[in-house]
């Protein structure tokens, strides 16, 4: 009796401590956003004086007005939206059209295709040979450099394949009996059944495109084709590398309010993800599950 009561007291203390710890932790994850948002809505002098914490000081829209008046940022935004939409479509079509045949027993040699994909997971080519390939194919300095090289993610390929494998062969066979062509079957039986996996992987692919930075840095020199992340990083770095005189292209910005403008750009680049996030959460948790159990 006595021991049980003592154990439950310790249990309550642990619960309270755990709750407090996790609350503080999630605040640590959340407050930086609030700080960025507050700075983006604050007046230049207030930021420089170090007065802005989690609420705007001398509320102003001027940072956003500046960002929205910058044609280069608009263009980068357009590039990002374009590669997100087109890129995700290419990803899903390409991944499904390889993963589906390989999931069916009628596909002779599926083992070799799976092996071919698996090898690229554990052993991949270094940067320079990839760069030389892109140059040889004349894909550098075009948006194709952001769309084609990542058309199929090996990991997502395995996720999709294991999903397709769960579709019973009997359903497909019954379609064949009814005289369905193979393409018709994919279109009206397989794809409708695959909505969950398509939604989950589509989100992962789309977030990947929205956040594209490295590939653009490697393969694209033309400012007109820079996605938002490249533009954003230049803005962020522009103050930080002020020792470097070559960064003076942003000196006109520095006169205005570099911190506020940076923060406003960060908010604009983050907002689309934050806005759709609550609707997507169910899907990405599901996608992570499908991926982790089988692949």
């Amino acid at each position: 009796m006595n021991t049980k009561r003592r154990a439950s007291a310790g249990w309550h203390i642990f619960n309270a401590a755990n709750l407090t710890f996790l609350t503080i932790l999630s605040l640590l994850m959340f407050l930086p956003f609030l700080n960025v948002l507050a700075q983006s809505l604050s007046d230049s002098n207030a930021i420089i004086a170090g007065k802005v914490l989690f609420t705007p000081v001398n509320f102003t829209w001027i940072n956003y007005q500046y960002v929205f008046s910058d044609a280069a940022i608009w263009r980068s935004f357009g590039v990002t939206v374009y590669i997100t939409v087109v890129g995700t479509a290419i990803n899903l079509i390409a991944t499904a059209s390889l993963a589906y045949p390989v999931s069916r027993q009628e596909y002779v040699g599926r083992k070799y295709v799976v092996m071919m994909v698996l090898i690229t997971v554990v052993f991949s080519a270094p940067l320079i040979p990839n760069f030389i390939l892109m140059k040889t194919l004349h894909l550098t300095n075009s948006l194709w450099a952001l769309l084609l090289p990542g058309a199929i993610s090996s990991f997502n390929f395995f996720v999709m394949r294991s999903f397709f494998m769960q579709i019973p062969g009997e359903i497909i066979d019954s379609g064949r009996i009814d005289g369905c062509s193979e393409m018709r079957m994919i279109w009206s039986i397989v794809l409708p059944l695959s909505k969950p996996v398509m939604a989950s992987l589509g989100i992962f692919y789309a977030v990947g495109h929205w956040n594209t930075y490295m590939q653009a840095l490697y393969y694209i020199n033309k400012p007109a084709f820079w996605p938002l992340q490249v533009k954003l990083n230049q803005l962020i770095q522009s103050d930080d590398i002020s020792i470097d005189p070559s960064a003076s292209q942003f000196s006109s910005l520095a006169h205005m309010n570099p911190e506020g403008i940076k923060m406003a750009t960060i908010i604009i680049a983050t907002l689309p993800i934050i806005l759709v996030y609550p609707f997507l959460q169910r899907h990405f948790v599901k996608g992570m599950m499908i991926g982790s159990i089988k692949a």
């Binding site: 996790l22 930086p32 052993f123 490295m214 992340q229 990083n233 993800i273």
Partner: protein
């Protein structure tokens, strides 16, 4: 009737002759056709560069191409190990990888265990929503936020420090902080999201085990040690193996967005070095040798880790 034919098709084609194999494949030609673009993709974008890595053994010249460039054997690999810069950067990469393994890898496990103990379901959901979120931000944005809050003049962290009476610190301008910032920002961004997989494993534990333990008089802590942790071992092991395979692969972006001339000494890793020396300074063969070295080490780590894991815990990747 037709079903029988389909079924026998599937079971029987192996024993059939070449001619009927071809007619079998012809019957399902649509499947083979739609798989072609994907196969071509892997050959062109994955295998061609893989074979193109032979330039590590050449003095590659972009005008002569692979066929016309001179072979130099292991020259670039030798140069690599004699190069002072390389050794320093190798040291950085190993240290940062090690800190990542010690601090970032266990973070989602601990977080998942704590979240799992929360009994208020609604609040648990709210917390999960918040801690998953940073994972969906790009490294550029994480870098931007970090540069903002760590700024010596306007950053929230330094405002807090000065409120406590300390001098402001230029965190990104001193090389002694860069490794902590790299690992810390990784924990901030990814540990919440990493809990998903562990929480799923925790949800899969048979509740009977806990009941039996309670009857035997085990308290909450003992139950965690005897039931919860052992149940997580398979998941931890698989993720650990995948993690050490990427030991030298800390990630280009997450380092590059934080690097500046003041902290580069401690922050430069192989990936950023390859970008600067390879793409920008056009030392194609030398940096390909480094990249190849990195890939081989990664492969070896996976293979060795897999053997060890199979022997000790019975878990393995393949």
């Amino acid at each position: 009737m037709a079903t029988n034919i389909q079924a026998s098709d599937r079971a029987g084609f192996r024993t059939q002759t070449n001619k009927s194999l071809i007619s079998f494949m012809w019957k399902y030609k649509a499947l083979y056709l739609i798989s072609l673009p994907g196969i071509l993709y892997f050959i062109i974008f994955k295998y061609v560069p893989l074979f193109g890595s032979v330039i590590a053994f050449q003095d590659y010249n972009i005008f002569n191409g692979i066929a016309g460039s001179k072979w130099v054997g292991l020259e670039h690999f030798r140069r690599m190990f004699e190069h002072y810069d390389f050794l320093k950067i190798m040291n950085n990469t190993i240290l940062i990888g090690l800190y990542d393994l010690i601090f970032q890898f266990p973070a989602p496990i601990i977080l998942a265990l704590l979240l799992n103990e929360l009994r208020v379901v609604l609040y648990k959901r709210v917390l999960q929503t918040i801690v998953y979120m940073p994972h969906f931000l790009s490294w550029v944005i994480v870098g931007g936020i970090a540069v903002g809050i760590l700024s010596p003049s306007t950053g929230a962290v330094n405002q807090f420090l000065s409120w406590l009476g300390f001098q402001p610190i230029y965190f990104l301008g001193e090389e002694s902080y860069i490794r902590s910032i790299l690992v810390g920002s990784g924990i901030w961004r990814d540990s919440g999201y990493g809990t998903i997989i562990y929480l799923a494993a925790l949800a899969g534990i048979n509740p009977d085990l806990y009941e039996a333990a309670e009857v035997d008089g085990a308290n909450r802590w003992k139950q965690t040690m005897a039931i919860t942790l052992p149940s997580l071992v398979p998941t931890i092991m698989i993720l650990f193996l995948l993690h050490i395979g990427k030991f030298l692969d800390f990630g280009f972006e997450r380092v590059f967005v934080f690097l500046n001339p003041l902290n580069v000494n401690n922050g430069e890793i192989l990936d950023t070095y390859i970008y600067k020396q390879g793409l920008l300074a056009q030392q194609y063969s030398y940096t390909t040798a480094i990249g190849l070295f990195k890939s081989v080490v990664g492969l070896l780590l996976i293979v060795i880790g897999n053997v060890l894991s199979k022997k000790t815990t019975g878990e393995s990747l393949y």
